[in-house]
């Protein structure tokens, strides 16, 4: 244990995701030895992000105004929504340049053991977005793990009988991997999602 403010800093850093007690200590001492200008810049960035960045009122993505950059873009296709767990998933899909529609960020996956149920996620907001009938396609892009799968199961049931085309991202084999190392669930999904090759 260190004294007063140093320990306070270590405690705060240790609460960040992915930062263990050792890393928290290392970062704290790095900050102590840094130039005050650098530290002030870091402190300012932390304060500003909380002050200025909000969540998009349409899709739940991070935004600097009421709506995010994507929802504000008139060139995006209004008929299709891609549902993801977190804002970082939006960034990942945007990098592919494959999708021209808009997003809906749920805020996580359904995980009963962690106390996260459907009412803790943005499902109601999604249903509200679908009310006017403009959206005709939903692409479910929750994480390719079992919580993501259960969340997709729940969502596809919500969307049943609404006349919307619902698809789920194929979870296939990792590119660059060897077939023999694939576990049976991944391999099974890849079989389900196989596609026709042009002759």
């Amino acid at each position: 244990m260190y004294e007063g403010v140093v320990q306070d800093l270590i405690d705060e850093l240790g609460r960040l995701p992915g930062v263990g007690p050792k890393s928290a200590q290392r970062i704290a001492f790095h900050v102590l030895q840094s130039d005050s200008v650098d530290v002030a810049r870091l402190a300012d960035a932390l304060t500003q992000v909380k002050l200025r960045v909000k969540f998009c009122t349409i899709c739940g993505n991070v935004a600097e105004g009421d709506t995010c950059r994507i929802c504000a873009d008139p060139r995006r296709d209004l008929a299709s929504i891609c549902v993801v767990e977190e804002p970082k998933d939006v960034v990942a899909i945007e990098r592919t340049r494959e999708f021209r529609g808009r997003y809906h960020v749920l805020g996580g996956a359904i995980s009963p053991i962690d106390g996260i149920g459907p009412s803790d996620l943005r499902f109601t907001e999604l249903m509200t977005r679908l009310a006017d009938g403009v959206v005709t396609e939903i692409i479910i892009a929750t994480d390719p793990n079992l919580e993501g799968e259960a969340t997709a199961t729940y969502l596809s049931r919500l969307l049943k009988d609404m006349g919307i085309r619902v698809t789920r991202l194929a979870s296939g084999l990792p590119v660059g991997g060897d077939l023999e190392y694939a576990d049976e669930v991944t391999l099974g999904r890849a079989f389900e999602g196989r596609r026709l090759l042009d002759a």
């Binding site: 995701p17 992915g18 263990g20 359904i110 995980s111 009963p112 053991i113 962690d114 106390g115 149920g117 459907p118 390719p144 793990n145 079992l146 919580e147 799968e149 259960a150 199961t153 729940y154 049931r157 990792p174 660059g176 991997g177 190392y181 694939a182 576990d183 049976e184 669930v185 991944t186 099974g188």
Partner: protein
């Protein structure tokens, strides 16, 4: 570094650092253990889906000072995968694994709890019965293994042969008219028959039960569970009953 190999069922996972996970497992021979799956969250991980909740696995680990580290893992049954595609079953699995996590301790062998857990997940994955009934049967038996067997027939206090009309959680189940504490419930006789069937595994009776008795029975089982585990089982309120 000491290596060990065991059969296990994945209870829960928590993110650790950039790409790792802490995986809580109930093993067949060494009780509950917490292990690190290095790199599991990377889509190229060689562990794939094998360390996900509800999976039945054969694993090899090396013992660490705090946490053990997974070196090899093979799937025995992909229960968790099948269950994740059936939402009511998924919510039942949540309550089952959370209860199991609460009733077991690290490095304390719990073979009976292990077998119960495996039986419940196998049944959910096979869609053999209503998921709500599988859950209640599991909860009653897991509590019984923990030493809190409720009585649904004879008086829980004096042993007077039943059936009795009164039911009291604190007293341990059915109570005769003499022992019956004030404020005891008076469930339908069919509900107590259902609960007794779930506890003993009489699925012919359980499958034939009416919805209202299932609902009443489920309320009593939940109350019974909460009474014995001081802290609330969070996933219980999310269970979707048909």
């Amino acid at each position: 570094m000491p290596l060990y190999r065991d059969e296990a069922i994945v209870l829960r996972t928590q993110k650790l650092g950039e790409a790792d996970r802490i995986v809580t497992l109930l093993t067949r021979t060494r009780g509950k253990v917490r292990v690190v799956g290095k790199g599991v969250r990377r889509t190229k991980s060689r562990f794939g889906s094998r360390l996900e909740p509800g999976m039945h696995i054969d694993l090899q680990c090396y013992e660490g000072r705090n946490l053990d580290t997974v070196t090899q893992v093979e799937t025995l049954d992909a229960w968790g995968d099948t269950i994740s595609r059936d939402y009511p079953a998924y919510t039942a699995q949540g309550a089952i694994v959370e209860t199991c996590d609460r009733l077991t301790e690290e490095h304390a062998p719990a073979i009976q709890q292990y077998l119960l857990l495996g039986g419940a997940l196998r049944s959910l994955a096979g869609a053999e019965h209503d998921p709500g009934l599988v859950l209640d049967a599991y909860l009653l038996r897991a509590l019984a293994v923990a030493g809190w067997a409720p009585s649904f027939h004879d008086c829980a206090r004096c042993g007077d042969p039943g059936p009795h009309r009164g039911f009291n959680i604190q007293a341990g189940g059915a109570v005769c008219s003499v022992c019956r504490p004030p404020g005891s419930a008076a469930p339908a006789p069919e509900t107590l028959v259902l609960l007794a069937a779930l506890l003993t595994g009489d699925w012919v009776i359980a499958d034939a039960s009416a919805d209202r008795h299932r609902r009443e029975g489920n309320g009593l089982v939940s109350a019974f569970l909460q009474w014995h585990l001081e802290k609330q089982v969070r996933s219980l309120r999310m269970v979707e009953r048909v």
